[in-house]
């Protein structure tokens, strides 16, 4: 096991704890926007998609990456927009 992997596992475990702490404070009334918003965040895969597409032009990987960019951007743009749309409806 290399050192980098170990660091990544540290990051993973700590991030899970942060996630539980932060998200358990979201009130039930906002659970749908939470789902669509966190969904947009899972579009972070865009980072991998950009690297695969941009760094290996003309290969199979680049083609797979291009489809991944499209899917991830639907997720990111659609997710944040629809979350914003919902949150603006909540009024006191």
């Amino acid at each position: 096991m290399n050192a980098q992997l170990l660091v990544e596992i540290y990051v993973f475990v700590l991030a899970v704890f942060v996630g539980f702490e932060v998200i358990s404070k979201v009130p039930p009334t906002l659970h749908t926007p939470l789902m669509s918003g966190s969904n947009a965040i899972s579009g972070i895969t865009i980072v991998g998609a950009l690297l695969a597409t941009g760094s290996l032009p003309g290969t199979l990987s680049a083609t797979l990456g291009l489809i991944a960019i499209i899917l991830a951007m639907i997720n990111v743009v659609g997710g944040f927009m629809v979350t914003g749309r919902m949150l603006r409806m909540f009024k006191k």
């Binding site: 992997l5 659970h31 969904n39 899972s42 972070i44």
Partner: protein, 457 residues
């Protein structure tokens, strides 16, 4: 220089995600939270484009434009009642993207180490299951597929065999790298099947749990991809989403008093093994016309409205808000009781009511409202059924026994707005309808409430 800056920007984007999620803890700060998280995403994209390995910006640009356009159209067009489908679809796309990035990493021309192969396997497995499973969930919610559980003999054994064969293929790929390419392709195909088989036996009523779980998977898929491409931004963001999905899954399961295993593997709502409904012919229901109930409404001090998905289907939420405003003008206190599994996904009912401008501070969840029913003069149940069935408290034979319910039967008078006496989603007889203090008002919910509003005016 570049190499130092990029990881620092990634760190910033992770911090923005966490701050954004934290601002979601209150409806007032939540819109800002969403913007904060979106900025985090923008930072991550910019940081990636600064990477000097990236040579082909044109293809990237095309992909970004197409994806953003589709996403924007979907986000603008979707009806609030269809939100569960949209989230299911987005979950699927997230999983699909992770699957493709994992595969792209594998198929690039570089010698593979065992560790990469292991992470690729996990990332394509979770990605593919999320992708195909979410598409099945989407089809069920959209009505393209039958909502009822689709079951066949040996389902669990087949799933088991598929899961084991994925592990065997991964091991095989490690020992014979010349065949690794075919093995990974086979793993992808089998995982896609596994995702389909995993969701089809689950009934429509359990879809909220499944969407929450797939939400978690889409995060874990991003996380696994982060291990493949060794990127901390993906690992952190993926784990945040993974944690969020697990919390929501847990809340949904508790709301139905079931375990996640029971939801995934038992398929409630199927025809097999359950006795048909037996209605005692001696039991009768009282039914009033809307006009006859006005006096009771006018003389009430506190009214609790229990909305169910039926209310949203009838598009009655705006009319309900009218009713609320009229009653409040007459000095009546109006509260809404929201069951954790009301609607078709966590928090769905709250969004549907918010859409009709109903203020969020008149919405109460189960624990807050249950002690209040005894002091409530009138409870108005609109399109909700199983979540107000008192049998859940005492009838050990009832399929919903033990499920936390709204104790509406403890209020002075209960009005139940319903189309007919047909049982609800789970097909269970509701003893609330036969109680002495319960009065049924049959008909379309929107019609009934508009008649009430008319009479109250």
């Amino acid at each position: 220089m570049q190499n130092i800056f990029i990881p620092i920007i990634y760190l910033f984007s992770a911090v923005f995600f966490i701050l954004g999620l934290r601002q979601l803890s209150h409806p007032r700060t939540a819109p800002k939270g969403n913007t904060t998280a979106a900025i985090g995403m923008l930072l991550a994209i910019i940081a990636t484009l600064l990477n000097n390995q990236i040579l082909d910006f044109q293809t990237i640009f095309i992909g970004i434009v197409i994806g953003s356009a589709i996403g924007a159209v979907l986000a603008k067009r979707v009806e609030m009642t269809s939100m569960p489908q949209l989230v299911a679809l987005f979950n699927g796309f997230g999983g699909g993207a992770s699957l493709l990035v994992g595969a792209a990493e594998f198929y690039k021309d570089e010698p593979l180490v065992v560790f990469t192969l292991a992470t690729v396997t996990i990332s394509v497995l979770i990605g593919a299951v999320t992708f195909s499973g979410s598409l099945v969930a989407f089809s069920k919610l959209q009505g393209l597929l039958r909502g009822a559980p689709i079951k066949f003999r040996g389902q669990h054994s087949i799933n088991g065999i598929l899961a084991v064969s994925i592990i065997l293929l991964a091991v095989y790929a490690v020992f014979d790298p010349t065949q690794a390419s075919n093995a990974v392709l086979a793993i992808i195909v089998i995982s896609l099947f596994l995702g389909i088989l995993f969701v089809i036996p689950i009934g429509g009523a359990d879809m909220p749990v499944v969407i929450a779980l797939l939400n978690s998977f889409s995060g874990l898929a991003a996380c696994a991809t982060g291990f493949v491409i060794q990127n901390d931004a993906l690992i952190i963001s993926g784990s945040l989403v993974g944690a969020s999905g697990i919390i929501l899954t847990d809340i949904m399961c508790k709301g139905m008093n079931r375990t996640i295993w029971n939801v995934l593997f038992s398929g409630i709502g199927s025809d097999d093994g359950k006795s048909p409904l037996v209605v005692d012919p001696m039991k009768t229901v009282k039914s009033y016309e809307p006009e006859d109930t006005v006096v009771i409404f006018e003389n009430a001090k506190q009214i609790v409205i229990v909305p169910g998905y039926g209310l949203a289907v009838a598009q009655a939420q705006h009319m309900v808000h009218e009713l609320q405003k009229l009653l409040e003008k007459k000095g009546v206190i109006v509260k809404y009781a929201i069951h954790p599994v009301a609607g078709r996904m966590p928090g769905h009912m709250n969004v549907l009511l918010a859409e009709a401008n109903i203020p969020y501070d008149s919405l109460y969840d189960l624990d807050q409202i249950n002690p209040e029913f005894e002091e409530t003069d009138v409870t108005l149940v609109i399109g909700a059924n199983d979540v107000v069935n008192p049998a859940a408290r005492h009838d050990t034979n009832s399929p919903i026994f033990g499920m936390p319910i709204l104790d509406v039967d403890k209020s002075q008078t209960v009005f139940v707005l319903k189309r007919s006496m047909n049982p609800g989603f789970a097909g269970i007889e509701n003893e609330l309808f036969y109680k002495d203090n319960t009065i049924m008002i049959f008909g379309d919910a929107k019609d009934t409430i508009s008649k009430l509003v008319f009479e109250l005016k």
